[in-house]
């Protein structure tokens, strides 16, 4: 048997048999499941309603009973109402705050809003503050209309909402309903998973290399196999672990999700992050039907195969470099100086994720999805929005070239690094290794 496969086989079996693999494999989907469900559940938990005293000299809030998360109790707006209210607030813990709006001579709402105050005895949430503010703004707006002699109800009637369905007019003239929200969710999930997996498993390669170096077995092994075979075998073996874990996770996550959403959340809410994202994207109407039609517009086989490709490509690209770092140091603590420049592009691609989602066709999106160090994550984000075939082909071929290149560089560092003990390395020396023939 080719020693490469013997090495890969060992890397695979020793990891898969570890208890930590079993635990991670079981806890992974639980974790992901919770990641999907918990935020949805949390937003559903109603915050205890606050009670606010209101001293309103301006009569701006007359007739209002409260806002979401707080109810109002008006005090007679006498001259001493403010000090009375403050006294109540101090003596009675039943009240959470006091909203004070002064009167103005000409009733200018802007001045009222500017000099209004909210005295709080407990922490009032930002959301509550905001809803009070928007209520005031609304009231001031109506007041201004009235001052200008316009009936607010007429203004209200003349408002209308537009909800245009974006239709992708494809090359073949096929009209497809587009659902930006769904695409964003899909792109983000794809990019994020590539990021997590590349990080997770590339780090495992590095740990493995360091383990071989610190346990001093590496020279024994490379007297039987070439250093490159050992490195590649490790990369392949750990990739196998990654795939196995990934497929188990996907399966279990699916099962768990179905179980959770059908039992825990039956009917009360739909925790799907897809929908919550869609809500954010401003498409709260007729979500169900649109999702289904939008789903049909997305090329799932393409995205799935691209996911596998970009995961493997990104993993190989970074894995080789991580292996080189592992070989160049004596202990994991020494990896910091080399890890930062390596992980920077990966982190950067997550940072630009929102920008890419906002405009998938921008130059930023284009370049980040072409350059091999960021393309695995960024291309996954772009993909659901549709990417020209030539861009995808360019990105993929560059990624292949990229990992061939990093593997070549890594192999040169690796074969020298693994035999070197107790030496603090500099970039200058690394560069020498890369250039030297042996």
């Amino acid at each position: 048997m080719n020693p490469l496969w013997i090495v890969a086989h060992r890397e695979f079996t020793t990891r898969v048999r570890k208890r930590s693999f079993l635990i991670m494999t079981i806890l992974g989907p639980v974790f992901f499941g919770l990641l999907l469900v918990v935020p949805a559940l949390l937003t559903q938990i109603p915050e205890g309603s606050k009670k606010l005293l209101v001293v309103d000299h301006s009569f701006l809030l007359t007739g209002e009973r409260g806002v979401e998360g707080a109810s109002f109790q008006f005090l007679e707006p006498t001259d001493s109402a403010l000090s009375q209210g403050k006294a109540i607030l101090q003596s009675n813990s039943e009240w959470d705050g006091l909203l004070y709006l002064p009167s103005t001579e000409n009733g200018d709402p802007d001045i009222i809003l500017r000099s209004g105050k909210l005295f709080a005895t407990t922490d009032l949430s930002l959301a509550l503050e905001e809803s009070i503010e928007s209520l005031l703004e609304q009231k001031a707006y109506e007041q201004k209309l009235r001052l200008a002699g316009v009936d607010p109800s007429i203004v209200k009637q003349s408002e209308s909402f537009a909800n245009i369905t974006t239709v992708e007019f494809g090359e073949k003239g096929r009209e497809q309903a587009s659902a930006t929200g769904l695409k964003m969710a899909l792109g983000l999930a794809g990019g994020f998973f590539v990021y997590i997996f590349v990080f997770l498993y590339a780090t495992q390669i590095m740990r493995g290399v360091i383990e071989e170096k610190t346990s001093r077995i590496v020279e024994v092994i490379i007297s039987s196999v070439k250093p490159f075979q050992l490195m590649l075998g490790k990369i392949i073996g750990i990739a196998g672990v990654g795939f196995l874990q990934f497929f188990i996770w996907v399966g279990l996550s699916g099962v768990l999700y179905v179980v959770l959403s059908s039992t825990l959340l039956s009917g009360t809410l739909d925790p799907s992050p897809v929908e919550s994202l869609q809500t954010q994207a401003g498409q709260s109407h007729a979500v169900g039907l649109e999702v289904i039609t939008a789903m049909q517009s997305i090329d799932f086989p393409l995205i799935l195969s691209a996911f596998l490709f970009y995961f493997i490509g990104g993993y190989l690209l970074y894995g080789a470099l991580f292996a080189a770092v592992g070989s160049a140091v004596d202990a994991e603590a020494d990896t910091q100086q080399f890890m930062l420049p390596l992980t920077l592009p990966l982190i950067l691609s997550i940072i630009v994720a929102t920008k890419v989602m906002e405009s998938p066709g921008s130059p930023l999106s284009f370049w980040f999805s072409i350059i091999p160090f960021t393309s695995p994550v960024v291309m996954m984000i772009r993909l659901p929005f549709g990417v020209p075939a030539w861009e995808l082909a360019l990105s993929m071929s560059l990624l292949v070239l990229g990992f061939l290149g990093t593997t070549w560089i890594a192999a040169r560092v690796y074969r020298i690094g693994i035999l070197l003990y107790g030496k603090k390395l500099t970039y200058k020396e690394l560069w020498k290794w890369i250039r030297s023939s042996q």
Binding site: M1, P3, I6, V7, R10, T14, E211, E212, S215, R216, I217, E219, V220, I221, I222, S223, S224, V225, P227, R415, L419, Y421, E429, K432, S436, Q438
Partner: protein, 307 residues
């Protein structure tokens, strides 16, 4: 068996090996001696094809060394270890398979060795549960398991307590008896000459001396003899009694000696033997002992390097 021809190797900033040629004969027990940093490990790594020489080449059994020859070589590096978390048996199997043994073959041979070394209870133990000495036994087994024609040990005695070092030495001698060619390096030159058939001295990346131990010692002998004797008057022997041999020194035995007497160092002409001296000595004194001072490897090394 192995012939290194004009091997040179440079690392950034220094020369590890400078035009080193060595011939390691089949069946020899070859000691590669030299101080730390002389280039021994680099040389052994080149033989194991872990690194390549900048210039020069290695012949294995008369033809250029090839990748497949690793199956005929067993190597125990100076920096040696095992996967700590892996079970002993599985690990030994893994290393054996990397050397080209099939699983079944490896299992059979391991069984034999584990029984021989009385370690068959360790198969499922993890390496981290073993003592250092136990781990070294496993390393030794995995090095010899594929029955290599050539065994290469880098500093095999370093890190061992004296008893374990003796065990390793005995195993090496046994393998040598069985016909295996053994090459090992050490920076401790004492006590090596009596176990090696051949040695080479490497100093500052150059080979300074090599050959069979007998030849080397013969070529470095000074024909100096140490003779202890006692005259009837407890004084020195008349100088003419040693004639025509050169007397280098003649002193009383130290006070702590268990019997009174004197000790003389004399140098004999190259063609003469001890027998030529003894008759006149016996006439003048009681000879307590007489022996040639054979230069130690250490002495030869220092002489060679300094001279």
């Amino acid at each position: 068996m192995i012939q290194a021809v004009h091997i040179s190797k440079h690392f950034s900033g220094h020369t590890a090996l400078n035009d080193v040629s060595l011939h390691i004969p089949k069946g020899s027990l070859y000691g590669l001696l030299g101080p730390n940093g002389a280039g021994k490990t680099t040389f052994l790594r080149i033989l194991n094809q872990i690194i390549e020489p900048d210039s020069g080449h290695v012949l294995f059994d008369g033809r250029p060394l090839q990748r497949k020859d690793i199956a005929h070589i067993g190597y125990l590096p100076e920096e040696r270890g095992l996967y700590k978390k892996m079970a002993v048996g599985e690990q030994a199997l893994y290393l054996a398979r990397l050397k080209g043994l099939t699983r079944a073959e490896a299992k059979n041979r391991l069984k034999y060795w584990f029984e021989k070394l009385e370690i068959d209870g360790w198969w499922d133990k993890r390496v981290e549960e073993l003592s250092k000495g136990m781990a070294q036994k496993i390393q030794f087994v995995t090095t010899v398991l594929h029955q290599p024609d050539v065994l290469i040990f880098d500093e095999p005695f370093s890190g061992f307590d004296p008893i374990a070092a003796q065990q390793i030495r005995n195993e090496m001698l046994a393998l040598h008896q069985a016909g295996t060619t053994i090459l090992f390096s050490t920076h401790r030159m004492e006590s090596v000459e009596e176990m090696c058939t051949h040695i080479a001295l490497i100093n500052q990346s150059r080979k300074v001396l090599d050959g069979s131990v007998g030849d080397i010692i013969r070529s470095h002998r000074t024909h100096t003899y140490r003779i202890t004797y006692r005259t009837s008057h407890d004084g020195p022997m008349p100088p003419e009694a040693f004639s025509p041999f050169v007397v280098l020194s003649d002193e009383s035995l130290p006070l702590g000696a268990w019997q009174p007497g004197r000790i003389a160092h004399v140098q004999l002409p190259k063609e003469a033997g001890l027998n030529a001296l003894l008759p006149s000595l016996i006439l003048n004194a009681e000879v307590l002992s007489a022996e040639e001072i054979v230069p130690s490897m250490n002495t030869i090394f220092i002489q060679t390097v300094q001279g």
